[in-house]
């Protein structure tokens, strides 16, 4: 589904962001991507949705090579993905329905089916009654749910979530995480970058830990034990206290 092989990413101004990262995410799998700010989480995700290309190594997503994909192939690759961000990225002048429908319209889905699919996606994220609301009329958690509805309305094979709970309070964060688990349970693989160590600690899901551009821990490779995840969480907590809490301006 998603495979990184010896991936190096170097930016002209800021230098090396990823050092020889290798891992694989299977179909229908759920994994956390953790690490302090600037550790390379966002760079790693950008490679997955072909926003960036690897300097060395290979990234394969749903049968496409990110290194060689150009033009239309990048668009086709992205249609197999859903991407969710910390800042939601909704269009403020459109309703929730229109924001979700947008993802179908631009990929040429027939107009006759759009309404139905949008309604189902909004129902899936628990916002069936808020389709006509605009983003400013919704809470942060609801806005993120709209963003998730937009990400899954194309029935993606893989959902990439970059700090999806970063702007939410605990309750909303738990709700969004639960929603991602449900989406995962329906067969979509999920890779979720997060600073929310409570979520990581409470689940027994796979954890990929980044530090200074290196993948320093993969709980699947290490035996997927909960204590390991706890240790990662404890270490991250320590690092977090020393670094800025927001990853927003970190990776280029």
């Amino acid at each position: 589904m998603l495979r990184y092989y010896n991936v190096v990413k170097e930016y002209p101004r800021t230098g090396v962001a990823l050092h020889a990262v290798s891992f694989e995410l299977q179909k229908g799998e759920f994994a956390f991507l953790t690490g302090p700010s600037g550790s390379g989480k966002s760079s790693l995700l950008k490679l997955a949705y072909a926003e960036e290309r690897p300097t060395q190594g290979e990234v394969r997503v749903a049968g496409h090579s990110v290194s060689t994909a150009r033009g239309k192939e990048v668009a086709l690759l992205r249609r197999k993905l859903g991407v969710v961000f910390q800042d939601f990225r909704l269009l403020p002048d459109r309703s929730a329905e229109q924001n979700v429908a947008f993802a179908l319209e631009v990929t040429g889905v027939p107009a006759a089916t759009i309404r139905d699919r949008v309604a189902r996606a909004l129902a899936q994220v628990g916002l069936a009654a808020k389709g006509t609301s605009h983003p400013h009329e919704l809470s942060g958690g609801e806005q993120q749910r709209v963003a998730i509805a937009r990400a899954i309305v194309n029935r993606p094979l893989l959902l990439l979530a970059d700090e999806p709970t970063g702007n939410l309070d605990d309750r909303a964060a738990r709700g969004v995480f639960q929603l991602l688990r449900e989406i995962n349970a329906s067969g979509t693989a999920v890779l979720m970058a997060t600073h929310n160590l409570e979520l990581v600690r409470r689940s027994d899901l796979r954890v990929l830990e980044m530090l200074r551009g290196r993948l320093v821990h993969d709980s699947a490779a290490a035996g997927a034990s909960t204590p390991a995840a706890d240790a990662v969480a404890a270490a991250l907590g320590e690092v977090r206290r020393r670094e800025t809490p927001d990853d927003a301006g970190g990776a280029p």
């Binding site: 950008k46 033009g71 668009a75 631009v106 927003a248």
Partner: protein, 290 residues
């Protein structure tokens, strides 16, 4: 294409002020080009009218018989620069001199003026070199005694024409460049206002062509609307100047249509450049999003 047109119109409805400002900006920048064009056209027309008076007058020898004069006239007529050769008899010359001199006509009562050939040149062949070439040919004609063509005046006219052409070209280019820059900046603003939309479109898998097309339609329509508005403004300015200041000539229909078309092409090119740049720049960079 219908989707692109619909998207462009929806974009205008969502941000009507931006759309109207865009069209008005394009219209006024093209209007300035139109005004300049109007001035240039009328100066050129005035110069052509003056040039039409360029003529070579060849005085016929008294001894030359009619057959010889006619033979010379027809050989001069065959020169590529020559439009017409008119024979003016001594009687006609006297009548003309009398009518031109009005109250001094008595001076000519007993005078005898020589017969002459009046040679007019074709449009585009009234430059100094052509006039001198034809004058030299006329001098060679056996029936001709003397040639006059206002050498100094022809040279001055040529200088004025050169200055007008160079100034017109430079100013025209400057106006056109300024209009192109303004139109381009206006269209770019419209594209930037929808940068988030472009970003999301790409993120959810829209092809670049799909993203680009509505912007190209939008830019072309704005250019076309701005061009039409500029044409109306230029027409109104021409009407006012003609009525209150000096009678002017408007562009031919083909030139006016070309101006409007240039607006549309300018809008299209500016859109293509702006959206192309935006497509290269936008990605999911969150600093630009916020």
């Amino acid at each position: 294409m219908s989707r692109a047109l619909r998207e462009a119109l929806v974009g205008w409805r969502r941000a009507p002020l931006l759309g109207a400002l865009g069209i008005a900006t394009i219209a006024f920048s093209l209007f300035s080009v139109g005004l300049f064009g109007l001035v240039a056209t009328n100066i050129r027309r005035a110069l052509v009218e003056v040039e039409e008076r360029v003529e070579i007058r060849a005085f016929v020898r008294d001894s030359a018989d009619d057959a010889l004069v006619m033979a010379d006239a027809s050989s001069l007529q065959r020169l590529p620069e020559v439009a017409t050769v008119t024979y003016v008899s001594p009687r006609e010359a006297l009548d003309r001199a009398r009518s031109e001199l009005g109250e001094f006509r008595d001076v000519f009562d007993a005078a005898v003026l020589p017969a002459s050939l009046e040679i007019r040149l074709r449009e585009g062949r009234r430059d100094v070199a052509s006039v001198e070439k034809v004058a030299a040919a006329v001098r060679e004609a056996p029936s001709i005694e003397e040639v006059r063509y206002g050498e100094e005046w022809v040279r001055k006219l040529a200088r004025i024409r050169s200055v007008a052409a160079v100034t017109g070209l430079a100013l025209g280019l400057a106006f056109a460049l300024a209009a192109a820059i303004i139109v381009s900046a206006t269209i770019r603003m419209a594209v930037l206002a929808r940068a988030k939309e472009i970003q999301i479109m790409r993120l959810v898998g829209a092809t670049d062509g799909f993203v680009r097309l509505p912007f190209l339609v939008d830019g072309t329509l704005k250019g076309l609307a701005g061009g039409l508005l500029a044409l109306v403004l230029t027409w109104a300015a021409h009407g006012l100047v003609s009525r209150y200041v000096v009678r002017t000539t408007f562009f031919p229909v083909s030139t006016a249509a070309l101006g409007v078309l240039a607006g549309a092409v300018l809008g299209l090119l500016a859109s293509a450049l702006s959206v192309g740049r935006q497509l290269r720049r936008v990605g999911a960079d969150r600093r630009r999003w916020q």
